[in-house]
Symmetry: D2
C-alpha cells in the first residue's frame, strides 16, 4: 500500500468529487431509500446496538455500585436537595470496541490523506475535524438492510478470513440480492473486541472488494477487521480500504443475534435499516443504535 492512487486497491477517491464527505452514502438515492422503506411492513423493530452501562466517574464511597471501567462514564449531577432533577455529564470514547458506533471517513487517514484524498492537515486540526467528520451523518441513513449470516446457528472459526465467496454464499442462503446503496449487516457469531482471548475472524481484502463491487453503502456487523491481522493478508482492510478509500461508513461492534433470530422467524433477510447517531459534527465516530425495521 503506497498511495491513494494504488491501482491494486479498490477506491472511490474522486468518484463524487474532491470535496465529498458522504462517501458511499452517495449511493443512498431517493430511489434506494424508497426501496428501504418498502421493507418496513409489520413494524417489528430490532436494535443492533450493544447495551452499555456507564461506570461512575467517581470511585470510592460516592460511586460504589457501577462497573469500574466502561466505554461510557457518568457523573450523576448534584442539582439541589431535594434535586431539581436528575442529570449527568457523560464521558465517552466513541471508538471503544464495546460501544456500537459509526465511523466517519476521517477516522482513518491513509498515506497522510483523508477520503477522498485530502491532506490530513487540511481535514483535522487540534480543535476538531473539518472534513470527513460525523457531520456527514446529520441526515441519518435510511436504506434497505441485508443480513449476511456467515455462520448460521454457529460462529466463524477463530482467525477465519472472510472472502467474497463467503459473502456470496451467505446471500444465497438468505435468499437476498445486494443492490447498490444497500447496507450489509454481517453476522459471524462473535463479540467485537480488541482484547479477545482468541484471534477473531475478519474480512479479507477480497471481501472488501466484494463490498465495493456491490456498491454497498454502509456496513455493520459483529465481525469486521480481524484482531490480530490475518496471516498472509493485508491488515485491517475494512478500515484501511473500506472506510478510508471507499468512504464506506462502518458500524463497529453491532449486536446481531436478535436480528438473526427475527430474520429466521420471519424467513427473510432484508429489512429497513435506520442509522441515526446524535447530530454532533466534527467527530470521527459516534455511538449509535441502528434499528432494523421489518
Amino acid at each position: 500500500m503506497t498511495d491513494g492512487t494504488d491501482q491494486q486497491l479498490p477506491t472511490n477517491w474522486g468518484r463524487w468529487g474532491e470535496d465529498d464527505e458522504l462517501g458511499t452514502l452517495n449511493l443512498v438515492t431517493a430511489e434506494v431509500r424508497a426501496r428501504g422503506v418498502a421493507e418496513a411492513r409489520e413494524g417489528e423493530v430490532v436494535p443492533l446496538g450493544r447495551a452499555v452501562t456507564p461506570a461512575p466517574t467517581a470511585r470510592g464511597p460516592f460511586g460504589p455500585d457501577g462497573p469500574r471501567s466502561s466505554a461510557v462514564q457518568q457523573a450523576l449531577l448534584y442539582t439541589g436537595t431535594p434535586p431539581m432533577g436528575m442529570a449527568e455529564t457523560l464521558v465517552l470514547t466513541p471508538h471503544d470496541p464495546s460501544l456500537t458506533h459509526l465511523d466517519a471517513v476521517a477516522h482513518i487517514p491513509v498515506d497522510g490523506m483523508v477520503y477522498p484524498g485530502r491532506p490530513l492537515a487540511e481535514c483535522v486540526d487540534p480543535g476538531g475535524v473539518r472534513h470527513g467528520s460525523t457531520a456527514a451523518f446529520g441526515d441519518g441513513v435510511v436504506t434497505k438492510g441485508v443480513l449476511l449470516d456467515l455462520a448460521p446457528g454457529d460462529r466463524l472459526p477463530p482467525a477465519h478470513g472472510i472472502t467474497g465467496t463467503d459473502l456470496d454464499a451467505a446471500a444465497e442462503r438468505g435468499g437476498v440480492t445486494v443492490l447498490p446503496g444497500d447496507a450489509v449487516v454481517l453476522r459471524g457469531g462473535w463479540t467485537f473486541a480488541w482484547d479477545a482471548e482468541e484471534p477473531t475472524p475478519g474480512l479479507t481484502l477480497d471481501a472488501v472488494a466484494w463490498l465495493h463491487r456491490h456498491d454497498v453503502a454502509l456496513l455493520a456487523g459483529d465481525v469486521g477487521d480481524a484482531f490480530p491481522p490475518l496471516e498472509g493478508e493485508m491488515p485491517m482492510p475494512l478500515h484501511l480500504v473500506g472506510l478510508a478509500r471507499l468512504g464506506l461508513p462502518l458500524v463497529d461492534g453491532a449486536s446481531v443475534e436478535d436480528l438473526a433470530a427475527v430474520c429466521g422467524r420471519l424467513s427473510r433477510s432484508s429489512f429497513m435499516l435506520v442509522v441515526a447517531p446524535p447530530r454532533i459534527h466534527g467527530a470521527t465516530g459516534l455511538p449509535v443504535n441502528p434499528l432494523a425495521v421489518f
Copy 2:
C-alpha cells in the same frame, strides 16, 4: 401539587404496574408500529436533531479553532505520529438545551418519587440510575409522528401559554387525527433555550392533559415548558406532569423547521418517526437525532 395521587393532575402511575419503566411507550404496540411504518412511503427523511459542533476540551495554543463553549466537548486524541487513526473522547451533558435529547422518566422526580411512584432513593444511587433510566429506550421508538404546527409560517408570541384548544386547532389545520401511541411533534417557531432574551411560550397543564387524553406516546418540539414559567399557570407542566406522572418521554430541543417545510410540500402532517439514542443504560437523558421518514 402535593403527591402522586393528586386527583387534579393527570397521571399514569400504576397504569402499567409498579415496576414499569416504559411509561407511554407502552402505547406503542405492534399495531401502532405497523401504522407508523405505513407512513413511510416515498423514503424522504428529515432529521429533527439540532447540529452541534463540539468545543475542544483544550483551550489555548492547542485548541484554538473551535467554539469556547458547547453542549459537547471533544478531546481529539494523540494516536501516534503519523496517527494510527483519528479518535476522540467526548464530554457531554445530555440535558443541555442546545443538544436535542430524549428525557428518561427518572430525569424528573416529583414528591421524592420517580415514575410510577417509586422512592428516588430506590431508583438512583451515586453510581447511576437503576429505575426509569435510558435503558427504556434500548429498543428505539418507531411510531407514527404527527406535526402540530402552532404558528404556520410564523412563531408563537412570547410567553404564550399553549392550550388543548391550540393543539386541536393545529391538528385540524394539518388534517390529522392524533391516535393512541402516536408521537406528537410541536412547532412553535422558537429555538429551545433556557437563557433566551424573550420569555418563551410553553405548554399549559391544559395542553398536557390533552396529550394524556389522546394517549400520546412521545413528544418532541421546538417549544416545551416555558422559561420563565407562565404567569398564573403551574410551572413546568410538561416535565413535572408529562414526563414525571404520565411517563411521557420528551425530546427536548428538536429542530422542526425542515419538517414543517417538507410537510407543507407534501401536503401531509404525518410520517414515520424513528427515535433511537445510543444504547446507553443508566442515564437520565441521551442525545438523539430523531428521523421523520415520509
Copy 3:
C-alpha cells in the same frame, strides 16, 4: 448527633465568625508559620502524596497500555503531525481514595449545614461551591508538621479504634509536643482505601476531641476514618466532626512510610509541612502532594 450546637460534639462553629471558611487554618498565625519554617534546616524533602498513573480515557486500540481504571484519566491530545507539543485533558475525582487529596470543609455537610453552620443551599449550588470550598487553600498551608507514628515498624491491628491515649503515646515516643496550629501526620501502617479486604483502623471520636484540644490545624495520614465504621463508636468522626464541625482540613490518603523512615534516620518527628494544591476555587477537594521539609 442532632445539630451543630450539640454540646457533646467538639465544635468550632462560631469561633471565627459566621462567614469563616478557613476553619482551623485560622490557627496558623504568623508566629506559627515562623515556627514551621524554623523546622526546615537541612533541606531534605519528603513527599506525602501517593503516586498515581492515569488511565487513558480511550480504551481499545488507541489506548492499550495504561491501567483500565484510575483516580485520574488522561486524554493525550492530538496537536498536529508532527505534534506541535504534547498535552492532555485530565478527568479526575479528587476524593478518590487512591489520590492523595485535601478536603475542603464543604465536603461534608452535617444536619444540612456546612461549617460553620450555614445552610447547604446557601453554600452549594449546581454550578459549584460558594462557601467552604477549596478557595480557602489559595494561600497554601505552611506550618510545623508532627509525625505521630501509631505503630512504629509495624501496622495497627485491623479495626483498631485510635484514641487520644494512642496519640499521646505516639507523641511521647516521638519526643514531640503538639502545639496550636501544628499539622499532625498520622502513621498507622495502612494504605488508605475504601474497599480493603480487611476492616481498616480509624480514629474514634475521642481522638478527634484530642485534635480539638490540641488545636491541630490540619491532619494528614495513612489512616483516617475506619471502613467499615468501628463497632460501638460514632461513624466517621474525622469527617463528620473533625472536618465538618472543627473545620479541620484533612489530607486523605497520604503516603507516610518515607516520612517515617526519614524521621527515624534524623531522630526527629517534626518538620516544616507545605500543603499547596492547585489554586482552583469552588471545589470540595483537590489532589495535593504535601511536602515535609527537614
Copy 4:
C-alpha cells in the same frame, strides 16, 4: 534549528545521561536545597498560582451560575438526598494559559525527540507519557527563588524582547545573585495569555542562553514566550530551547504581583520556593500553586 546537536543552541542533552528525566532539577542538590530553606525566616507565604473558578460541565437549568468557559470544569456529584457528602469530578487541561501549571520536558519535542534526545515514539504512546513526564516532579521542588522584576511598578512594553542584559539589570536592581540550582521568577507586569489583544513581551534566545549560563533550575513568570513570536527572533525559545533542550521545567502563567509587593516591603528579592503539583505521573503538565516562603 535542525537537530539536537545544533551547536548554536544551548543544550543539556547528554549532560546527565541518556535516560535523564529531571533536566535542570538535577542542579537542585542537597546543598542547594539547604540554601533554599535558609531563605525561609519570617514565615510569610506568597502564592504564585492564579486563582481559577471552574465552569460547570452542565450548562442550562442545572448549572447556571458558573462561568461558561474555564480551564477547569466541575461536575458537582449527586451523592444522595440528603447528600452523603459533596464531591465532584473535574475536567482540566493543564496547559491552558489561564491555569498556572508546571511543564514537563515531554511537553515539547524538538526534531522528533524528547529531552535528552530520545525519539518521541519511545517516550509517548496513546496511553500516556513514558519518559519525561510529570513523574519527574514527584518529590516536589524546593530551592532558593529569585525575583527578577523587569519593569518595577510598571509593565514591559508590548512585544518587548527580553535579553540577558535585561535579566542582569533586574538582578542588580534586586541586589541578588543567581546561583546554580536557583529558581528564577520573572515579572514583566503582564497576564499570561495566548489571545491577548496586544502582542506580549517574551524572552529572546539570548535570555534563554543566560538562564543556561547561570544554571537556573526552574523558571516561573508572568511572561514567557511571546505571542506572537518576536520579529527577527527564534520563535518560542523558552519552550523549544529552555524546556526541550535544557530540560528546564517551566511554570507558565504565574501570578507575581503579590510577590513583587512583598519583596518590596521586605527589601529582598530572594525566598524559599516550593513547587509541588499533585503527584500524577505520565502527564506533560500539571496545575500547581508555587509558594514563595520568606
